[in-house]
Amino acid sequence: MAEIKSKYEIFCNELESMLKYFEKNQTISNKSISEDDLVTYKFISQILVKVEAVRTDNSKLVNFYFPIAKKCYYLSDDTKRKFLKDVDRESLDSKLSGLYSEKMYFNQEMDFNQSRFNNRKGIFTIFGSGTFLFLEVTCFVLTITNNLMLLMDDESMIELFGLIELALSVVAIVFFLNLNYPLVRQLNRFRYETTAAVESYYNKIQLDVFQSFLYQKNVWVFLYHIFCVSAGLYGYTAIITLDVFSAINLFDTMQFIIKSVVMHIGQLLSTLALAGLIMFSFSYLVTMYFVDEISGDTCSSFSSCFFYIMDQAFSNGQGIAGLTSATVESLGNKYYLLFLLNITFFLLINTVLLNIILAILVDTFSALRQKSDQFGNK
């Protein structure tokens, strides 16, 4: 029996490799296989699912075959991507429990999409999940065009392109409201009802307006386009330049950079606050004892000295030493105190704290990239 099975395997492998060859070269090299065979193999193998199960500890693996349920095709790409991104992949058990906990939401979405599709076939056939990407890329191209025209001091076409971008963004939001919003709202409500104990008016507004609409990736990016273009055309032209930040939504690496800052924002802010406190005490010492050594009248008061030190010592990489021109000859024994102050400031701020901030950012960024690469490989 094992030998016969292996021949079945050879037969399937032959068809599989020929299918790959055909898709690459559009011809069939093996005369015993026809295009009919390849189409049939491709179709049937795609709709047939194999599940291997062990009934008892000592029994062998048993294969179960069944066709994929039709409604599985109605699970949206966004949901699949989100699930793959969020599910815990530490172990097989965690993956399974993740899938199991999401199954009722998947079911809900598939049922809802199937019934909506059957009622409005025409709309859904034309506007698939790629529509938003197409509109987003078009808007981004228009943004780049407008910014290039600003760069070349030619503002003649900016209004036209801006209005096209505005119209496309409005169209995208209308599409979202019409095609996606009902499903997103229903799923969010369903999730809320199964997890939350209290239902209030505020929560409903939060669910329906913020979570289901404004926080959606396909909405806020177009709202951002609308804001930048409207403010740029009818207010300050410079705001059009801010529209290029919409690129963040299109490129994963840019999102990683933003996430690496936002993800550990508490740690970053704490480090900056500590740096601020150290600079505050150091600027007080400088104002009290070494104000004459700083050139100009930049340190006329404690507050101006504090902001001057914050601005100069923190950003020029030299610490307080970069601000003073004192020598042993000019200060005498007081110089050694200033030297101690300089070196302590340099070590604490320019060496330790700035590198801690850098390390937090780099660590978070590399962890995000690693996670993304692992997901890509699995």
């Binding site: 021949k7 189409v39 049939t40 179709f43 047939l48 194999k50 075959y65 039709k70």
Partner: protein, 89 residues
């Protein structure tokens, strides 16, 4: 022993013959289902070769499976799947 009567060769040829027969049943069943149900063809031509399945028909097959209940629940498709599961194992 004559080479043609070697049990392993006989076994191989039998399996191969069986596989080709099963797969041709699958292909012909799918053709008939696709042309009759998805394309509403009267299926009056002389032989099965007159009803080719091209790669261009693949999307049509998928759409028929996803949207046409008659297609997805048809006995011919069930036969195809059962026979294919036998080969696929």
């Amino acid at each position: 022993m004559t080479e043609g009567f070697h049990p392993e060769i006989i076994n191989y040829q039998t399996t191969n013959f069986e596989l080709n027969m099963i797969f041709s049943i699958i292909v012909n069943s799918l053709k008939q289902l696709y042309y009759c149900v998805a394309k509403n063809d009267p299926f009056e031509k002389k032989c099965m070769a007159d009803y080719p399945l091209r790669m261009a028909d693949f999307d049509g097959l998928q759409l028929a499976f996803q949207r046409n209940n008659t297609f997805s629940n048809h006995t011919l498709l069930i036969i195809c799947l059962r026979l294919f599961a036998y080969i696929y194992g």
